[in-house]
Structure formats: structure tokens, C-alpha cells
Symmetry: C2
């Protein structure tokens, strides 16, 4: 026993030394934040973590998430101790081309989710634990190392709330209470009782320990595994910079390499060369096998009045019948986004996340780590609550599908707090994202199918109001495509719209046709990626483009179209109609008019742009 | 006493009836969510709220925030009962042109902050209460009506955390536990003990009551006013739709008018015409008087190497010496954003919000309600955590200043989790926002001064790296302006940049000059509003624009420039250099090169665009 304790202490010292060495080699990093948690990770690796580092994709492996991602030197020191990386690679920390970045990313095979924006690792861990309990149904455990500073993030309490509610006793949060944040003491300092009370109030089991006593750590992990239906929080009182007097428990040493690493390493007893083989994953369990089945897709008759939000709900429910990887997550608005239709048919794959959008997205990120295909839906406006999680999901190389309903002023009476008017701008700016905005239920159904196999962050924007089905159920719609809904060989203007404004644009085109003005109408259902060819053809044919969107002017459909022509030889005149007012309450029709994006304003804009109705417009670029 | 109780009950019934009438007149709205809280608001208005409805700007008025903004019919019924609005106006609810919108906004003089995105009213209330305690130092109280569904939002627990930590016993949260959310039961249902345990764990006093027993409500408010240093949560068990059997405690009636309003009103005993005069505000207290003083502004010598983030910190500290309305809020990174320099000089106006960006922004919103001028600073990347709060701050017509440091790949080794690469897109899309991106400390100082008097949401983007001071301390920089840093009468290309890339653009211009290629360089420090005239002049002079930004390609500087020329007669060729890769760790120089936005790539881009160096470029638009 005492030999074992001594080995664990030595392993902890080695990881401290290696954290200091990595940061010294990089000239930056967070050694002191690593040193406080070294003993906690040493015991975990040596005795409790069940993980085959040679098989990172083994479905029975435990999951280890560093929610305090800045302690990456410790994580990489652990990988070295586990024999997963060499000492030479450890010392490539933070260098260009090294997979050992300043904060962990899934560029490393043993990392599930990127961390570094605090308060996100634990919510993603909740998603992983929920998948283990309710989807994969295998006994892996999810170990999450949290910092004490990040306990101030509301997202941490969304995670505590959901883990307690879902009784995730396969989730163990290890809170490294080292008292010191980046700039000084945390709100609670070493008041570990306060953390215990909070964890218990959210339905967790809390175990308070000295995070440097390997015996107490061992007992805490052992108790944690005696699952009683509650997730476990190990509240570990630790010392930042533990083991090196120059920095130990002192403010002002966050996020810097040590001034004298050699002396510090000597003080810690010098380098060690211990390697530890982690325990094997639980071998007898049967991982989930995905299946596909024949099942009809949702479809509607042309001309039927169906809201695209409803089209999404029916399409997703139908798709789930054919593909058992599909899961749906609801932000307590399933009767508005219509995920409730999925819940009726597939309750086992439906997850109610309540009004907690950060946890909503984090759960989706956790699920896709396990190979599931999550669709997370709420109001488009409320996805802004999870924008940092969406940004980080891209860093995690996560494949998640987000659905935002109630976009734009066309929702009507509820007013601006409920209107998604920044969502296209925000989602377009996410690296590698896909932004889709259908105008008809059949089109929505095809795009939902496409999203299911689309990598990265894909976003579907749906409309509250019922709109007529425009396209036949057998028409195909690809990501990156568009549809010319109306055209002739004498078109004088191109109207580019999507979603609700596509219907307004068609009505405007009818008005103009009665005045002998031919307008081409392009349905830009794929805002990103965008169909450059069709837009360029339209520009060359008409020389004049009017974009119409139920979204603020910045970063939306108009900007996406402008980008196409920025450096192109034909640069048409482009007039962008968008929401430039602060909307109020009113009927959808009144608010579309108030914003100047309804049929009447579109038609009037074209009349003013064309010198004399009926005569072809001049081509400034020809 | 029992007469008084009876009057309160009657007042509650009147507010139920009026909520039903308002929703019936509108054809939409949330009467059942209003009915559960009617008795709570009746007793508050009749006995405890200290408010002069004739003087909404009276600094000693209490503050009443409906965090459950969808209960707006109840709020408006309360205004009617207080004699503030007429019955006719009550019935204009949700109609175009009415100030009584679907969710409350400050278009109404008695509303401090817009609500409707749940979990935001309480955090804003924390800001109001904190201002009362530590800035205004007057004894108003802040009453916040919360729904039980919104208790699942992490932001609510950020608010609990901070209110407990700051000992805000002038804050009373009234939790309307009506058990039912939009689509079904809440996570905790009527488990009011769970709410009590959580509130207490965060340092609050919790009082559990029957929310329909006016005697218990009265006692609870009375106890709440006996301040003991803890904020108070009144956990009120209520019934959704209380008083009308057809909807009482039944699922499926959220957010709809009653099917038979006449029958419901009869069941409630018919309309009443009670009016109640709220108590007068605490009259003896002395509200804060703002003062200005002479004090030197921060300035630097041209050529000095100073990071703009440091320029911001010094400039804000200097400005605060001359203007005592200025307050600073830190997201636990004050040693990185340099708000720590403000803390040193003005500790009484410095607020540590720890790692809780939603509460950081909400506190700023609360402060500006009271006439203070808040600057809230964290990493640009982490402002994305508060995006929904920023969006709602615009609906609140709030004047707040946000500062995001560590923007772009130029931060270097820390990697993508710490890089603000979507912030310009996100902030530009906010209604009425201002987006500033300085390249030099003196310029930063001028922009900080301009932000202090700028209405709406203004955002300053600062850089981690030290860069040379370009402009003399006496140069003026206005919002909406730009600066032509280099030009000649034979310029062949215009480089448009800001912040770190402005320095790269100047270096590229030097390289090109050595090759006899004249490049105009525009410092676009004001991204929104944008200086159209200077850009158009440059376009007409050179016909070719290259934009360079340390931000993702969508929604940033490039799109802002494209918008200028969309519908302009001269439409130059525009090439946009931006971050189109997922960055990694590396040195700032390596990452600027990796993203193709460094001096070398800028110069090479120009070489490739100009047919033969030294000869003027063709003008496709002439």
C-alpha cells in the first residue's frame, strides 16, 4: 500500500516536472495550474482510468476531459506517463505543427472535445455521460477535471443541474480548488464547504478531500465508483504551483513558465521516467451497433400551407425511423420547433434540455463524440445564448446540427426579444459552418437529410409562419445549391431571397410582371456554402441584384452575395433589403412592411432602380 | 387586516381579469403565466413597492424587473392598477405602435431593461442592486419576478453567485413556481425545497410560501426587508392559470389567450376598477451627483511599442479621473485586458465579475440604467458567451461599452480557443452597434473617450501584441472616421486594414514601394459606422482594394467594405484577405503567415493582382 502511495506521489512529481519542462520549452503555458492537479491525475491514471491508449476509438474507453484546458501541460504529461507520447513530443508543446496545442483539441486522438473557454468541458462531459447511460448503454465513466475559477460560469451549473436530473452516476467531476484564478483569489477561495453545498443542492454526491493526499484521493475515487444514482463531485483542496516554493500558493504566477525551471525541477527531485499502463476498458460490455432501415421520408403536396419549422419536425422524425443514429435535443420549446413530433415517435432518442441553451449545444457535442447524429433545436434568437459553445464546437471538429426557429420579424406579435435577427451573421462566421434557410417544407425535408451527413457545424433556419409548399417532394436540394424559381431571357433584375422573403419576392415578381418588368427570382436556400455560378449567371443576365432577408443587414444574405462578386469580373449593382430598424410587436405582415422587406417594398425598390419600367436596365459592368 | 387582505385578493383578481382581457384583445400572449403571479404582484404594489409612477426617472424609486417577460400582461395590468396607463392602452397590447409590446421594453418609461429572453432579468437586477449598494448608495430596492422555467438558465446562477458574494440584501427575487413550462413540467416541478437549498447554497436567504396566500406573501415581503446582508429569494408555490378551471394547473395552455375569455372573467368575478397608489420612494436619501474634473488623458510618444489593450487600460483609468460616471467591469482577466490599471486608481468604481461573462454584461446594463457609464472588458472570444445579453441590451436601448482583447490569430501560442475570430461579425450584426478596432495606443485613447459618450452598444477590439504608436497624441479620431496613412497621386492599389493588420499592410506597402508599386493604406479603425467617403475616393483613385483582417472572412472588415460599394456607381475589384483556416498554436508571426494575412502575403497578393508592377491597374468599372 505505502509502496503504491509512493509510486503515485512519484508519478505526480514527474507530471509536475514534465509540466514545467513543457512550459519552459514553449516559453509560455500554465505550469502552476497543472501542478495543483498533478496528484489527482496521478492516482486516476495509475488505478482508476480505464483506457486503451493504443485504441483511442475503443468504444468502451473511459472519457477524460480537462475542463480546465489551460492545464494542458499536465494532460500531455499524463499522456507521456501513459506511454502515449514521447518526451520529444511533450517538448513540442505550443509549437507550430505540434498537435500539443496551448489548449487541448481533438487533433490529439485521446481528446474528445476542445477546451480552453472555461466552463465548457463539464457540460460536454454531461453529454458524454448521458450518451453512456441512455444511448450507448455501456459502463464507461466520464472523468472531468474542473478548475475552481470556472465554477463561476453559469454553464457549469447548467451541467450540474442536468447531470443531477438525469442521475448520471457515471460522471465524476474533480474540482481542483487551488484558490487562485488568473488575476487573484476566486470568489470562494478555499471555502470547499460552499462547493459541497452547491453540488449537493443540485443533486450530486460531494466528496471533500485534500487533493495532495494520494490516500484520500484513492478513497474518493473508490467511493465515487460506488454508483448510487448521483453524479459525483470530488472537491479537492489543492495548492497552485504545489511543490515549488517560488510559486506555491502565490498570486501572479498564472499562465507563465517558471522563472528558474532547473531549480524548480531540482526542488521536485529531478525528472523521472515512470510509465504507467492504464487499466483496460470494461471488456464484456457490448457497444451499440448502428442500424439503418427503410422508412418513408416526410413529404407534402405543392401548395399546401406548412411552416418550415413543422416541416423540420416531421422530416426529422421520419429520418430517425430510417437512421437510428439520429437524436433530437430540445430547449424546452419542442412544441414550437416541432421536435415534439420526434419525441412522439422516438422517445428513447429525444432529450429534453429545458431552458439551458449552453447545455443543449454541449450535449450535442458530447453525443457526436460517440458517433450519434444530434439535432439541437430552439428559437434562432436563443442559440445566441450558446454562441461560445458553437464557436468551440468548431474547434472541437464537432459534427452537430443546430436548428433555429422563429427567425426574423415575421414571427410577429412576440416582439424583438424572440426574433432571430443576428443568427445568419453569427453562424456564417463560425469556421467550416453550413447555413441553410429553406422556404418550403419539402425543401426543408431534403436539407434535413443532407445535414445528417454534413460534417462540421450545420445550421437550419426555420420560419414560424405557414408558407405554401413550392417544390415537389421529389425535387433534390443539395448543400451549396440554389434554385432559380422564375426566369426569362429578358430578365431586368434578379431578386435573391430565402425563407419567408422568397415568398415575398415571388409576390413582388408577380406585381412587376403585370407592369411588364421581368424579374428573375433565386431561392438562396444555401447561404453558406453559396451557389456562386447561379448568382454570377443572374448577374450577367440582369446586371442588377436585389437581396431580401428577414435578418439584420450586417453579415447576412446580402453580405454573402456581395462576397461572391467582390473579386469577380462582373460586378453587378447590388441593393440589399434587410431589417435596419429595431422591430416592435405587430402582425407578421405589418412587421415585414415596417422593415421594408415585404412584397410591396421589393416591387417599389425595383421600380425605382429601373429607369423606365419595361425597358432593359443599363449594365454598368458591360 | 382581513379588509386589507380582501383588497389585495381583489386586486389580484383584477390583474388576472386584465391579463385575460389584454391577451384576448391581442389574440396572443401569456395570460396563464400572468395569473400565477397576480397575487404576488398585488401585495407588492399595494404595500411594498416604493415608486412614483408620475416620476419614472426619480432616482429613489424602487426597481421592478419582470425576468419572466412573457408575463407582460400582468405587468401592464399592474401599471393600470397603479393608474399609470388607461384601460384603453392596456387593450392596445401587442398591436403595432403600442408601447405595450409582447415582452416589456424600455419604450415603456417604467421598464428598465427589456426581457423576454429568459434568465436575463435577474442578472440585470443584480446590476441594479449593485449600483444601489456601491455606486448610488441609496436605499432603493430591486424586485425581480422570475419564472421557474428560467431557473434552468446558467445565467440565473451567475446572478445568484454574484448577489450572494456582494451581499445584495436590497435584491429580492420572487420565484413564481407554477410548475409548468412552455411544453410541460419543469425539471423541478413543485419541489420548492430544491429551490430553497440552491438559493441558500449560493448565500441567499430563502422564504418558501404559498404564492396565492396574501397573508403569507405579506409576511414574506416584510421579512425580506429586514436586510441581514443576504439577498432574498421568495420561493412561491403557485398555480399556472390560477382562478380559471379550464386552464388552472393544466399543460397545453402556455402562451395563448383563453378560449372563452368572457366565461373566465365571470369565473373570476368580473372586471374591477381598483386603483392603488404605490408608496412614495424613500425621500430623505441623497441621490448621487455626477461630477467632472480636469485630468490629463493618457498619451504615448510616436514609435513607442504599446499594445492597444494596454492603451485601453491606461486611457480608461485616465478618463475615469475626469469623469466619475465611468465604471469598469472585469471578467477575471483584468491583468490581460489591463482594466487592472483602472482598479488601482479607482477601486470604488471597479467591479470584479469573475469568469461569468453573462453577468459581466448584465451588470453593465444595470449600471447604465442608473446613469453610469460602464466599460466591460474580457477576451474578445469570451464576449461570445454573452451574445444573447448583448443582443438583448440593444433591445433595452442600453448604452454599454464592451472591450474585447486578444483578438485574432496574432495572440499566438494559446491557440484558437482564446482567439476572437467571430467578434466583428457578431457585434456588427447587433442593432445600432458601434465597432472600433484601433491600431495604436493614442488612437485607442481617443476612441475610449468617444465611446464614453456614444449611445447604444459600442465595442472596442484590442490586440495582445505590442505595436508601434503611429499617431501623435493630439490627433483626433472620430467614430465613423478612418485615416489614410499613406497615399500618392499614383496609387495602384488600396490596402484597407485595422489593428494588427494595419501594421502588416504598412510593411507590405514598404516592400511594394521598393518595387515601384504605390499602395494607398487606409486605417479603418471604425468598422461600424464606416467611412464611406474615404473608401470611395480610394476606390476611384486605385480601382483595386485589398482588405486584410485578423478575423474570419464572414461578416468582418471585408464584408463591411463590400457593403459600401454594393450599390455605388464605382464598384472596384475587392480582394479580401482574412482567416480562412482553423488556427493552431504558434508564434504570432507564424500564425499571421499561416492565415495569409501577414506583410508577405499582402505584398504577394498585390503583385499577383497588378498585371505588371509599376504599370497602372486596369479599371474594370470605368
Amino acid at each position: 500500500m505505502s509502496d503504491e502511495f509512493e509510486r503515485w506521489r512519484e508519478l505526480g512529481q514527474q507530471m509536475r516536472v514534465d509540466s514545467i519542462r513543457a512550459a519552459a520549452a514553449a516559453g509560455s503555458g500554465h505550469p502552476t495550474s497543472s501542478m495543483s492537479a498533478a496528484d489527482l491525475m496521478a492516482v486516476l491514471l495509475a488505478k482508476y482510468l480505464r483506457y486503451d491508449f493504443d485504441q483511442p476509438t475503443e468504444p468502451l474507453n473511459d472519457h477524460l476531459v480537462f475542463s480546465k484546458g489551460h492545464a494542458s501541460p499536465l494532460l500531455y504529461a499524463l499522456y507521456k506517463a501513459a506511454g502515449a507520447i514521447s518526451d520529444a513530443e511533450l517538448l513540442s508543446f505550443r509549437k507550430l505543427g505540434s498537435r500539443l496545442e496551448g489548449h487541448p483539441t481533438p487533433g490529439i486522438p485521446w481528446v474528445d472535445v476542445a477546451t480552453g473557454s472555461l466552463g465548457q468541458g463539464l457540460p460536454c462531459g454531461v453529454g458524454l455521460a448521458l450518451a453512456g447511460k441512455r444511448l450507448d448503454r455501456v459502463p464507461y465513466r466520464v472523468w472531468v477535471l474542473c478548475g475552481d475559477s470556472e465554477m463561476a460560469e453559469g454553464s457549469i451549473w447548467e451541467a450540474f443541474d442536468h447531470a443531477g436530473h438525469e442521475q448520471l452516476d457515471n460522471l465524476i467531476a474533480i474540482i481542483d480548488v487551488n484558490r487562485l484564478g488568473q488575476r487573484g483569489e476566486t470568489m470562494l477561495g478555499w471555502d470547499t464547504d460552499a462547493y459541497v453545498r452547491r453540488a449537493q443542492a443540485f443533486g450530486w454526491r460531494a466528496i471533500e478531500i485534500d487533493g495532495h493526499d494520494v490516500g484520500e484521493i484513492d478513497r474518493a475515487y473508490e467511493q465515487a465508483l460506488a454508483g448510487d444514482g448521483r453524479p459525483v463531485a470530488i472537491i479537492a483542496r489543492t495548492v497552485k504551483g504545489k511543490g515549488v516554493a517560488a510559486v506555491e500558493n502565490r498570486n501572479g504566477f498564472h499562465g507563465k513558465p517558471l522563472a528558474d525551471p532547473e531549480a524548480a525541477i531540482r526542488e521536485l527531485g529531478g525528472p523521472r521516467e515512470l510509465t504507467v499502463r492504464a487499466s483496460a476498458p470494461a471488456g464484456d460490455a457490448q457497444p451499440h451497433r448502428f442500424e439503418t432501415h427503410e422508412a418513408p421520408a416526410a413529404s407534402w403536396k405543392v401548395g399546401e400551407e406548412v411552416a418550415t419549422r413543422r416541416g423540420f419536425g416531421e422530416a426529422l422524425a421520419a429520418l430517425a425511423a430510417s437512421n437510428d443514429r439520429i437524436v433530437a435535443l430540445d430547449g424546452e420549446v419542442g412544441n414550437s420547433t416541432y421536435t415534439e413530433l420526434f419525441a412522439a415517435g422516438h422517445p428513447d432518442r429525444y432529450f429534453e434540455m429545458y431552458i439551458a441553451e449552453q447545455q443543449l449545444v454541449a450535449t450535442a457535442v458530447g453525443f457526436q463524440v460517440r458517433g450519434w447524429v444530434p439535432f439541437a433545436a430552439t428559437f434562432a434568437a436563443f442559440l445566441s445564448r450558446a454562441y461560445d459553445f458553437i464557436r468551440m464546437a468548431a474547434v472541437s471538429r464537432a459534427d452537430i446540427r443546430l436548428v433555429g426557429s422563429h427567425c426574423g420579424v415575421s414571427i410577429g406579435e412576440d416582439g424583438p426579444s424572440q426574433m432571430g435577427l443576428e443568427d445568419i451573421a453569427a453562424l456564417r462566421a463560425v469556421h467550416g459552418s453550413t447555413v441553410l434557410y429553406p422556404c418550403c417544407a419539402n425543401q426543408t425535408a431534403k436539407l434535413v437529410q443532407a445535414m445528417a451527413v454534413q460534417p462540421g457545424i450545420s445550421y437550419l433556419r426555420t420560419t414560424r409562419a405557414a408558407t405554401p409548399v413550392l417544390y415537389a417532394a421529389d425535387e433534390e436540394f443539395e448543400i451549396g445549391g440554389s434554385r432559380v424559381v422564375r426566369s426569362s431571357d429578358r430578365d431586368q433584375v434578379t431578386l435573391v431571397a430565402a425563407g419567408i422573403t422568397l415568398h415575398e419576392a415571388l409576390a413582388a415578381a408577380d406585381e412587376l410582371a403585370a407592369e411588364k418588368v421581368a424579374a428573375r427570382v433565386v431561392d438562396l436556400y444555401s447561404v453558406k456554402p453559396i451557389d456562386e455560378r447561379t448568382l454570377i449567371e443572374a448577374a450577367e443576365a440582369t446586371g442588377l441584384i436585389v437581396t431580401v432577408e428577414d435578418h439584420h443587414a450586417e453579415g447576412g444574405v446580402g453580405d454573402a452575395v456581395l462576397e461572391v462578386f467582390a473579386d469577380h469580373t462582373s460586378r453587378p449593382r447590388i441593393v440589399t433589403l434587410a431589417v435596419r430598424v429595431m422591430p416592435t410587436s405587430g402582425t407578421p405582415a405589418e412587421l415585414l412592411a415596417q422593415a421594408g422587406i415585404d412584397r410591396t417594398h421589393i416591387a417599389q425598390t425595383v421600380r425605382e432602380l429601373l429607369p423606365a419600367a419595361g425597358t432593359p436596365t443599363p449594365r454598368p459592368n458591360r
